[in-house]
Symmetry: D3
Subunit: 248 residues, 6 copies
């Protein structure tokens, strides 16, 4: 089985961290391929950057998804998730979606930790969009940037631990999702310090992608997730134009 | 007052229809400028086309918003609405958002008519995203394409009337929103046939944009709608890169 | 254009404050008429006073609305809002409704400040009734009376600032609505101190009333907002009895 | 125990029907007193009439509640319910509230039948206001007036039966509430024809009022239901002014 | 009238406390019978113990309900409530359900106090299951066991008072439900110390059971609460097998 | 990896069907063990039978879970799901939970088909309990019994197809879950006839159980899903008493 990990940001270090977390979670026979955006935001840290990243997600899917069994969106806002499901024939799993869905089977309410206060509402909107708002205990936002994860790992680690304990003790979280591709692989390290399961979005996404690739549910032929096919789009790469033009 | 009407689709006929509806609704002193996307979908008719259109919305905003008093997104999925609010200093109003908000002051529940069955869930998701799901009576989807609005106007007109009457009589709609930029200007024509207010998204958006431009609420300096500023994005037009790089 | 500002309380000072706020927000050509209740509560500060004020709202509407283009309810509980919409032929806008609807286009979640702890649940109920509960960040209630706004302006100003900052920093409010007719005109003064838009209900209501008066949506001929007409009511003023008796 | 049944409409026939239903439901030792509004709507059939009836409810409460052990609002929109709870020292029960609360212990979802299509949204709003929207299966509105209940009893009876069966078979109602004071006493007659419990709002309200009068829960001394006390209201009857002026 | 109080726990002291609270609330003519589980948990303090208690509830109902006019589940998780309603011909009332329903007529939002932090989510789930989540102000969990109620009454009393005051002052509770059969009878004692009504689940359940027994609503003949009848179950007591086998 | 499939009903034919579906979905290296209840309902078809089955679920878990890597509840009401999670150290997955969670990654809204009209509300309650109500398109109930699946397979097959098509065409389902252990293995057979993915609860549960067994999330040491441990329960089998008595 071959999984594509798709990071629409242009920061290779995030892709590398994602790949480490994915390898730790993947089954022995699962091949992993991780790709990085060539245009768009360096690291998504705002609504506008996320909006721009949609194009990059589609471009990466058009270039790399054709020979994979499933796609994991290695971007914690699950940018373009349903668009990819519509365009592609294989399962597509978002890392925050996966963290929440996996969390649903171990916890009644899930706490979420992410970078940057301004991003809190976006994760709340994502959870609401998945219809999972009632399973969200609370969102804690760290006062650090994704980049500091690499430059000041101990400070970020401490901030995550403090936030996680607060979510458990004060907000009733029975599991905690580390939402941020740059936090990939941190969960395993911090787990011994925390009394509830720490969910790594990439690990959960790999597990769900493997599960869906194995389940082989057919793609819908009707409804909002089915292929449109035969659509003309202009001013984009030939691969992407071709993906839109394909008929189901 | 100068309003920018921003159509991220590449179809000029839609921009023309939007401009007609906007002119009919605008106050005497309001200047209107309508622009059309130069890349991306011809007409958004799927999730993937909508995802792609985010880039086009941002590009048009970067090129044209600098000397306007408010921006109207003349795309019925309100593509990139909050991203534009974050990036720009002037009010930004989505046409479906405006139709729903204006409808809230005349009707307890609003019916919505749009093109294409596969698009129904997207409008439900939009209304839910605005926290207005309980004000939505029902969504009716027409079995016609936006293009047929221009090529077979009578058939589309009949389909809209049938759907509107069903929404009123069966689903308890007390107003009906025609959601689709290509339907702009149709409401005035059909209103005499329908017993409840027909809401034209473009007209409502122009009215709300004028109201907000006059209210002159300051832009937030904190939170998810505030400017990030000073952000590097790669591989995009100079105007857009510059817009991301600007500091508030 | 002529707007009627309708204050069902019997306190002229509140009407005066409302008129100041309305004038600051109105367009140049907009004429304003503000009227004060002649019976009922001095200032609404409880559920029972609000219940009683319904009659006063209807009476003022019956006396004064006939030659206006739109009506603004200058009472922060939006008392009798839908009843007036049913009875009158022109747009009717509530000041708290307007504050929330205008806030929806600048903030994902709105904080609300009002007088008196016992009134908090009433504003929550109003927001829920509008289907906007998910757009409400939190409600802060001041431990002061509306009357103190006039007698101890500095203390009230300080209390509002403290509450607004708490709503922004702790509750994630991206805009703050000052809900209370007696707070009308305070927003402009305090805005420089607060990092998110301060919404003045009266100003927002004037803007929305102007927008609706310009949109000229027809009145529904069916549904819960349509005119009943031809109804007999007893023991009320001739103007009010006549308004109920009118046929659409 | 003495219960006050308070009908703010000016139609004595409705009060009479209410009293019949109440007597059938009351315990042997319960004394019943039913009073009729002297001003306001003849029969509430619109939002504006309901708004006006608030004054009448308060007036009747001021005149008659002082020597009763509990009050039943014999008006199916539960007009002024929380206002009366704030003003009075004894339990106050609304007939639709009671029908829904009693229904909650016998059915997972409750259907509701009322008069007049325009009134459907008002009952939905009431149920939502009680936080009970998810317990409401569906609302069926009869194409008859309350007055026809007395003038064409067989036609109304047939319409109610048809609606009730539809609610059970199509909408999953496991109990059906007859919401309308004029329908009081009809439930007992129609019950044999319907496969689920028929809830009479008056009967349920009498039962709950007796239960609360016996429970003797103290009145809150804080919060939105506590007495304000010492409030001045103008231009109303001496009894009502006095009720507002009383201190707890 | 004869009420059965059914405690599926095997702790007689809890049944005794329940009976004291029930006697204080019951009308003069009401006969009370309280029974205790003979197998299953000693005191339910976890999800698994609650799951196991379902069998004990059914067994007690099969043995004792046949000659009663109504059944009260004297277990604060309302274990097996709808199952008993399906199996039995008489009204069945849960003590937490009753506390919440009675609270709905005196408070807009209700605080809930129970034993043990791990139990908080279960009460939230119960309230959500009743569709009453929006009427719940907050849940406070005591750091004591039910057993300590009898061994350290003063400490538990103090903990309850502290929690109740916090619910009122901080969380906006307008009534407080003491949820826990072992807390039965504590409300009357603590009421003078607290500014809002203290709801005793057993007292409320007795009052509602009396009300329903008097209302005599028929049992549904269709839907999820109707009798299945004629069902074979294996490996249970003869009384229980017989109850399942009975035809309606 | 070894999965335990746990059917609390006493019907071996259901266990057999479950095992067929599970084998078709399991990975090559996954060992399956399916066990059948020895007491309790023959086939759960009502609330009371489901209540009784809780004991049987716990008993089977106590007897068989000790040497398994994960447990699948092969009962479509997911009876005792969270209780098993609390008691056991390995992942526990419910078949309807799994069908809904897996469906969330392929469809915006999921239709559900089950046996027996009276069971519809129970599945709605389950979905609501998972916080997934907004992902549920509609529930269709077949007018056949689980037993007829084996005795009249063609009739049941036709009924399922009709219901599935209705869910897709009328209710907007983008996937359809066959909820009922007796329907296990039917999805693969019917899939070619239906335009959206058919979800088999057992297959989905096997896939999620494998995913969770591989993810190896630790068990929470606090909260409502953590082990209580050291609890005494009476009158149950030694295995079950021992499971409750174990300390974490």
């Amino acid at each position: 089985m071959k999984l594509l990990l798709l990071n629409p940001n242009t920061t290779q270090a995030v892709t590398d961290a994602v790949l480490v977390a994915a390898r730790a979670a993947a089954r022995p026979g699962t091949e992993l391929k991780a790709v990085t955006g060539r245009f768009g935001p360096v690291v998504i840290g705002s609504r506008a950057e996320n909006a721009l990243a949609h194009h990059s997600v589609l471009q990466l899917a058009a270039e790399h998804a054709h020979d994979c069994d499933a796609v994991v969106l290695a971007v914690s806002l699950d940018t373009g998730l349903w668009a990819c499901r519509e365009l592609l024939k294989v399962p597509v799993i978002g890392m925050t979606e996966a963290g929440l869905l996996a969390g649903c089977s171990v916890a009644t309410r899930i706490g979420l930790i992410t970078y940057g206060r301004r991003m809190g509402p976006l994760y709340r909107e994502i959870a609401e969009g998945y219809g999972l708002a009632s399973r969200l205990a609370c969102i804690a936002t760290l006062d650090v940037t994704p980049q500091q994860t690499f430059s000041e790992p101990q400070a970020v680690r401490d901030a995550v631990l403090t936030a996680a304990r607060q979510l458990v003790q004060h907000d009733g979280a029975e599991a905690v999702l580390l939402a941020g591709a740059a936090m990939a692989a941190m969960a395993a390290d911090l787990q011994p310090e925390i009394d509830v399961p720490l969910l790594d979005g990439v690990a959960c996404a790999v597990a769900l992608a493997e599960a869906h690739a194995n389940l082989k549910l057919p793609k819908a032929r009707t409804g909002s997730v089915s292929s449109t096919g035969g659509r003309e789009v202009r001013g984009v790469s030939p691969e992407l134009a071709n993906l839109f033009a394909q008929r189901p």
